[in-house]
Amino acid sequence: MTALILEQLLNGLQLGVLLFLIAAGLTLIFGVMDFINLSHGSLFMLGAYFAVLFQGLTGSFFLAVTLAGLGVCVVGLIFELLLVRRLYHRSHLDHVLVTYGLILVANESVAILWGATPIFSGLPESLSTLVALPFGISYPVYRLLVIGVGIVVAAVLFWLVKYTRIGMRVRAGATNRAVVSVMGVNISLLFTLVFGFGAFLAGLAGALAGPLLSVQPGMGETVLILSFVVVVIGGLGSIKGALLAAIIVGLIDTMGRAFLRDFLSAFLSARVASEAGPALASMLVYILMALILFFRPEGLLPMQKRS
């Protein structure tokens, strides 16, 4: 039983880390630029496709994942320069309209380039094995690697935001944009960089998720919803909040799926439990979001914002 619970905790952590990689970019862009980017999921999808493309070209999985992240970063920068920067001063509704349109364009472009059906994205031999952990758990190496990458990215992000000059400006930009630009900071360059970095994180997440998921047009939309939940729970614009919320959401979702049915059958008949268990498990995350919105509308660890 201990082994089962520990393994499910690892599963939850892995899902949480993946969600964090996507939500971090989303929350940065929202927090700093006050820009709602629905097409973030499309950048995730592009990451997965680029990883497949680069793996075919270079033959190295790690190189492919890195290049995919950078490739999506470039796409993000182009987006920002051509389109997104014209929208900052417009209303949220305009952001939503344009970036929703971008989702349609991205899905259709991918379908034209690679076909509407899933494409193959596999793992190298060395990563598709199991590793023995304490308590008799044997766990897929690749999922451990995803957890590792997530932790490293989180650490780098904290260092960047907390201890570097650019991080200071990002924090300042999130707190009070007008004052930052009055102080002589090139705010439009800052925005471009943040958008590109957010795109890089989404691309990295997509590249890492590719071997686990089915790489096909529209694959970004399902993760987008969950990562918005993470952003809302964590507090808009807060990296720390995003990390905390991503881990909580990952754990709740996984533990709910794994144990809720057995838990319910302790009180209810087996039939009711097997009907209600999965239904309730898929709702848990949203119930949590509703509760957070009710009791802490600004999220778990909100940014301090003055206007």
Binding site: N11, F120, L213, S214, P278, S282
Partner: protein, 389 residues
Amino acid sequence: MRKTLATLALGTALTTGFSAQAETVDVGLILSLSGSGAVLGTEMQKGADLALEMSGGKLGGLEGHFLYEDDQRKPDVGKTAAEKLIRSEKVDFVIGPSYSNVMMAVQAPIVRTGTILISPNPAPAELAGANCDANYFSIPFQNDQPAEALGLHMNEKGIKKVFVVVPNYQAGKDVVEGFKRTFKGEIVSEIYTPLEQNDFSAEMTEIKTADPEAVLAFMPGGLGVQFVKQYDQAGLKPMADLYTVFTVFNGVSLDAIGAAAEGVYSVDQWTYDLDNPANKEFVAAYSTKYGTLPSNFAAMAFDAVRLIDGAITAAGGVEDKEAVRAAMKAASFQSVRGDFAFNTNQHPIHAMYIARVSKDEATGALAVRNEGMIVDKMADSYAAECTLE
């Protein structure tokens, strides 16, 4: 005299004009051609196109026209498409749709107008029993059949402990119901996952802990790609055999899963290596045209077009709807499955096979290959409730 000649000429022109119009057959195809449902829809399109091409663009000797409509796997879009095909295009037949949820929305509006509807894939239980209709034909199976056949196969193999994973929607529940109808062993656990869930790590851990002899999974479309990959990555393949229905198929599905699919079982009414002349001709033509082995979805769409072709030939045209319906019911065509007949509810009576993913000797590509017949001349469980003659 001159006038008479002119009138005669006009008369002839009119007659030929009318008969030329009557000599075309319009077939509307409502398929999921975009979005995540396109995985199956495009396969069906390929199969149908090939069938028309192989008969020289003719259906039963008449000029055949295909009108494609994309339902995006959405019931409301499918319904609009159906109404367009019936009212403004006035098609003679409709083939489609690709998924059960769209079928439930389009079946009634189509059959009510007297237009013949042929399902190339979904055959929900609701339409096979008391609600069967003279204008509705299911070409591939009744949805429960593969799972029922799998139950029989596992009984025969002596498999006692089975773990079931299906998506939490009607078709998933139908599969479990069908399996329970025949399977005599113990179902150690049945898990219903949300349709939008794409990471199955928690389920894989549960399977490992339950330690079953076999796993039954139904994961349609892209879900199948993810599930089979993750099953392999979790190291479960050596622990429990994976049995699937409607999950792995030749071409896009196996290409996307890769080596992780090797050894996975599937229950099907057709496999590409069935030994009959119609099938050999179909597989050869398909491989030449598209460069891959055909999937069962392509094969069923191919059969659907062939059914129309055979019925028009037997009825001598499309004018007499009664004659066409009778000819369709007689199934006067060569199915790629070999033996094929319609039951009273116009669902198939046919053989079910156990198949396994392994390398095709000729091409080296992974394929769902026949491992033997489970049951011959299998009828579905709902025919008795249907009151059609």
